[in-house]
């Protein structure tokens, strides 16, 4: 593509009043010989946009630098198909957070424009990756409530679906219930279990292929072209699918580990599942002697919210126990029901169920179990009651029911940590733990199952990206993702299957999926220079890159989320996007003018994550906070894409300091690409080598974690860094 560059400077929103626009234009026309450079007082208005369109038609302009507001606004206005558009932020990060008509503000604007022109000069328009033989079928793994819902919803939306269930019949956990909690108003009435209806809908749907008594032997490929081998009755079937919903649910925590609550020690201590069976048989009798039950104690959080067992809340035990309390009261309204709980979490409409059980006369106890003893065939519970503030002792109880929590099916199996080398070198960044749960059996270099978040749940970030796992095209739904009840599971499965459908359609367009849905670029590998170091194959947060037997990377573009972590990892810098590459950012750094030391104008490069840090910087401007004039901000897709060479480039040019602003990492991370900021932090720990080579102080490079709401902290974060650099003194490489 022959580029014809044009620069448009907007003078609206206070830009024209604060800057010398003629001088700024000269940067384009004189320094960079840009053939077209115009200013307009209202560039995002119809007239301004028309001006650009006329130049595209009349002058053949195809590469456009818009020096105006942040790239986060008006992206729909400045959207010119078939042209490269680069945005220079003169407003939010320019005149809105720096004093007007100030020499330093002008220098900042000029540097911003230089960087924008350089980036535009070096960008190419992305050519979307077009895979062949794409499938639009959804694979649903697991035939319980979540899987049945996902399959039915996919089919209703017009997508063929393959459902694989390991048991000989569909329905899962819900089929074993006597009654289910109310799914409709008034929510306090128990309902007959409706799973049979859901099973029927799926089994009778011609667009859903059901494999029962089946297991997945292997999944290879990538979104749009997953090849699935299914073992059923000794036969092997093969299906090609576009995306996958993982809905294998959870199992109950092993009650034999709850001896302290009497299970296994006393026959009259049973689990909630056992109690469901008793209720279904219509026999609420003491296991010890068959006596009709006159009093029942339910112990909630039996093994949940307990650091010795399951540290988390299992979400359903409160409502399930309330439901079971009604089984007791329905059979015998005079029977005594004790409910021992840590917190009553009858979420949403199940408050109504809770109130009903209270009104039926059940006794509720908040606190901790102190002991359970047998007394002549009956049980006696001692309890530290928070609300009484004392230890209390029950009257004799016939039956104790333990509400055991849920363990996701992805949490069960051998633990595996995949490292670059089989021995696992100490210098490597922390690798994900993969639990070999024998569910998906992925042919991925990073292991056969999904990396799990916490406690073995297959999730990535439950607030920002529900359903997303850390494998593109595989969406988790229901209690395999997080503990959840029946209504939540139905909603969850519906949401996850929508993500699966989006993935199929976006893959067909060659677009990335969430969070860079518009992005048509993808990483390209210049293989001649690859040294088979495995950094990219190990560090990709999404397991997108496989390896051949000689350790050459085998990219799977449809698995890729376009974060650029591979690009940041590659020591040979052979991985590039059409519109984002190591030299491109390096040249932006080099375009910054560095004043001589005696001018006492230090320069700081900020590499700011586009997802949180960059918008936070914009918000600082929107709130008219003042930011140090020495900073030059370069947005990056993710701090994971930060290549250490940029730091070397900047320091050897005389830049005084480099500040990396990225998302919170580690526990409860907020990184949109899961491990990007963590990897940047790890790489930074290795920077001392580079700095030593240059004989520079390690204080010149700093990384800070910021969230999108931290905009008010940003001026101080920058100011603290400026003070530190003042202590360290100017970069001795200035002028070289």
């Amino acid at each position: 593509m022959d580029k014809k560059l044009a620069v448009y400077i907007c003078t609206g929103c206070g830009i024209g009043d604060a800057l010398d626009v003629d001088a700024l234009s000269k940067v384009a026309t004189k320094e960079y010989k840009v053939p077209v450079c115009k200013s307009h007082p209202f560039l995002c208005g119809a007239e301004g946009v028309e001006l650009i369109k006329q130049d595209m038609e009349g002058e053949g302009v195809n590469t456009i630098v818009i020096a105006a507001c942040s790239m986060r606004v008006n992206y729909d206005v400045f959207n010119f198909p078939n042209a490269i558009v680069e945005r220079v932020n003169l407003r939010e990060q320019g005149v809105w957070c720096h004093p007007a008509n100030d020499e330093d503000t002008q220098m900042l604007a000029e540097d911003s424009l230089r960087m924008g022109i350089v980036k535009a000069q070096q960008s190419s328009p992305p050519e979307p990756f077009q895979a062949e033989n794409l499938s639009k079928t959804v694979l649903v793994v697991g035939g319980g409530l979540a899987g049945l819902t996902a399959a039915a919803e996919a089919a209703r939306a017009g997508y063929k679906t393959v459902l694989v269930e390991k048991n000989p019949s569909l329905g899962g956990w819900v089929t074993r219930l006597y009654k289910q909690v109310g799914l409709k108003p008034p929510y306090s009435e128990l309902e007959d279990v409706d799973i049979a209806q859901r099973v029927k809908e799926v089994e009778e749907n011609p667009n859903i292929t059901v494999y029962k008594g089946a297991q997945i032997e292997k999944i290879s490929g990538a979104p749009g072209m997953f090849d699935v081998q299914i073992r059923q009755n000794g036969n092997l079937a093969t299906e090609r699918v576009g995306s996958i919903v993982l809905a294998t649910g959870a199992v109950a925590y092993d009650a034999t580990r709850l001896g302290h609550l009497g299970f296994g020690r006393y026959p009259n201590v049973v689990t909630g599942e056992m109690f469901e069976e008793m209720a279904a048989r219509g026999e609420l009798k003491r296991p010890s002697d068959g006596k009709e039950v006159k009093s029942v104690a339910f112990i909630l959080c039996a093994g949940s919210r307990d650091k010795e067992h399951l540290p988390y809340c299992s979400a359903i035990c409160c409502t399930e126990s309330l439901k079971q309390a009604l089984y007791v009261k329905e059979k015998d309204p005079e029977a005594t029901v004790y409910i021992f709980y840590k917190d009553m979490r009858a979420a949403g409409n199940y408050e109504f169920l809770y109130q009903r059980v209270q009104k039926e006369g059940a006794l509720f106890f908040r606190g901790e179990i102190a002991g359970i003893e047998e007394d002549g065939g009956s049980m006696v519970v001692e309890f530290d009651d928070v609300l009484v503030g004392d230890r209390i002792r029950t009257e004799p109880i016939d039956l104790v029911v333990l509400a055991t929590g849920m363990v996701p099916t992805t949490a069960i199996g051998e633990r595996l940590v995949v490292q670059a080398d089989e021995q696992g070198k100490e210098s490597e960044p922390p690798a994900d733990e993969i639990i070999k749960s024998n569910i998906l059996n992925l042919e991925y270099r990073q292991g056969p199952e999904l990396p799990t978040l916490k406690y073995g749940f297959a999730d990535s970030h439950f607030i920002c990206f529900p359903y997303e796992t850390r494998r593109t095209g595989i969406y988790a739904a229901g209690s395999v993702r997080a503990p959840m009840d029946i209504p939540s599971t139905i909603k969850d499965a519906t949401g996850a299957v929508l993500k699966a459908i989006q993935c199929i359609e976006l893959t067909a367009e060659g677009s990335a999926v969430h969070p860079r849905v518009w992005d048509l670029s993808y990483p390209e590998f210049f293989m001649q220079r690859c040294t088979q170091c495995k950094r990219c194959t190990v560090e990709c947060p999404f397991g997108a890159i496989n390896e051949d037997e000689k350790a050459n990377p085998l990219p799977n573009p449809t698995r890729c989320r376009r974060c650029g972590t591979c690009m940041g990892a590659c020591p040979e810098r052979i991985i590039s996007f059409k519109n984002y590459s190591v030299p491109m950012i390096g040249n932006m750094v080099k375009a910054i003018e560095v004043p001589e030391e005696d001018e006492e104008k230090p320069r700081i490069v900020i590499f700011a994550c586009e997802n949180d840090a960059y918008p936070a910087l914009d918000m600082a401007g929107i709130n008219r906070l003042t930011i140090s004039p020495w900073v030059r901000i370069i947005p990056v897709r993710c701090l994971g894409s930060m290549n250490l060479i940029w730091i070397a480039d900047a320091l050897s040019k005389g830049i005084d300091g480099i500040l990396l602003l990225g998302c919170k990492h580690g526990e409860d991370y907020q990184c949109h690409f899961i491990k990007g900021s963590e990897l940047a932090s790890y790489r930074l720990s290795k920077i001392s080598e580079t700095l030593n080579r240059l004989a520079l102080e390690s204080d010149r490079v700093r990384m800070e974690q910021v969230g999108i709401m931290d905009y008010d902290r940003i001026p101080q974060i920058i100011e603290d860094f400026v003070s530190k650099l003042e202590e360290v003194g100017p970069n001795p490489y200035k002028g070289f």
């Binding site: 005594t336 009553m344 809770y354 109130q355 209270q358 009104k359 006369g361 059940a362 006794l363 509720f364 908040r366 102190a370 001692e382 009651d385 609300l387 009484v388 503030g389 004392d390 230890r391 209390i392 002792r393 029950t394 009257e395």
Partner: protein, 390 residues
Amino acid sequence: MEAKEISLEMKEYLVAAGAQTLDHCMQCGLCSALCPWRMVSGHISEVFYIRKMQRLGQLGLEGFDTEEVLFACTTCGICQLNCPRQVKIIENVRSMRSTTVEAGFVPAPVRSVVGSLHANGNPWSGPREKRMDWQQGVEVPAFSPDTEYLLFVCCTSCYDPRSQRIARSVVDILKKGGVNFGVIGEEESCCGETVRKIGDEELFKKLAESNIKLFKEKGVKKIITTSPHCLYTFKNEYPELGGEFEVIHYTQVVAGLVEEGKLVPNVPLGKKVAYHDPCYLGRHNEIFEAPRTLLKAIPGTELIELSRARERSLCCAGGGGRLWAEVPRGERFGELRVLDAEAKNANILATACPYCVIMLEADCLALDKQEKIKVMEISELLSASMGRES
């Protein structure tokens, strides 16, 4: 640690005695947080938590029945009004009290009250034949079958010299307003509201049944009460014992007359009047406007709202049998009302309940504020504004 034994039998006893909503309590503690006892310091404030009392009751555990806990509640009703589970907290308190009172244990401060109610039909140890002494020469019509309203004067205003002025003022304005009313007198008994709250259900029934029988014999259809407490019990508790009457507080009757122009207060008082909503007139009977209408009708009066008014009004501390309790200075929340009125530069703290008048006047004296703030019943102000010295 020694564990306390749960007693489901005791809990069932409480439920049977009227604590039907005891199990509805989810122990959120909003009641304890709203309780006026939180606003003062001292022993009762430290030991009495209405939330915990409900909890102990739910489990039939000992502790709810210790005297300073069991008889602390003034039944002001702010907790009950705001309870997210609509627990009838006062009913629960009443039934808990009944467990000891009906077993013969009556706390010392109200022992004479209960005794006098048995003997004289009033809590003030006044002989029955002196029930009409409050009239003191004022001509008060006697009730006859063709009288429209029975004026039922609270025992307090029958016997307590300070409170007798209220009864006379009410009579004065009713007469000036041309209301067709009359009194019965000696044969009347205490309405029983307070003794029921103390927990003596049997005595309440005796008093109520005697009144119902009397009213029916005399042909009473409509009743005007001077006290919001009588109003409450006649309206809400007599019907289930067979006493269906149309009951109204005097402020409602008189506010109607003022609005219709039949009664025109015309002597300017030139005072700043702060109004204290009695719990039983406001929260319990939802009468907020009538007393304000009356105060606004008095010429030259500036009506001041206290910082807690209407549904949020702070109790004087005199309900639930606590009128007779001995509480050290600084631990009485009635004092906070006087201080509030003072802070708002009021000259008069007006109210519409004989209990509130007794409590607030005592608090005013205790604080030595009697020169700055005068505690008045609305009828007294109205009567004065119509040319009668009270």
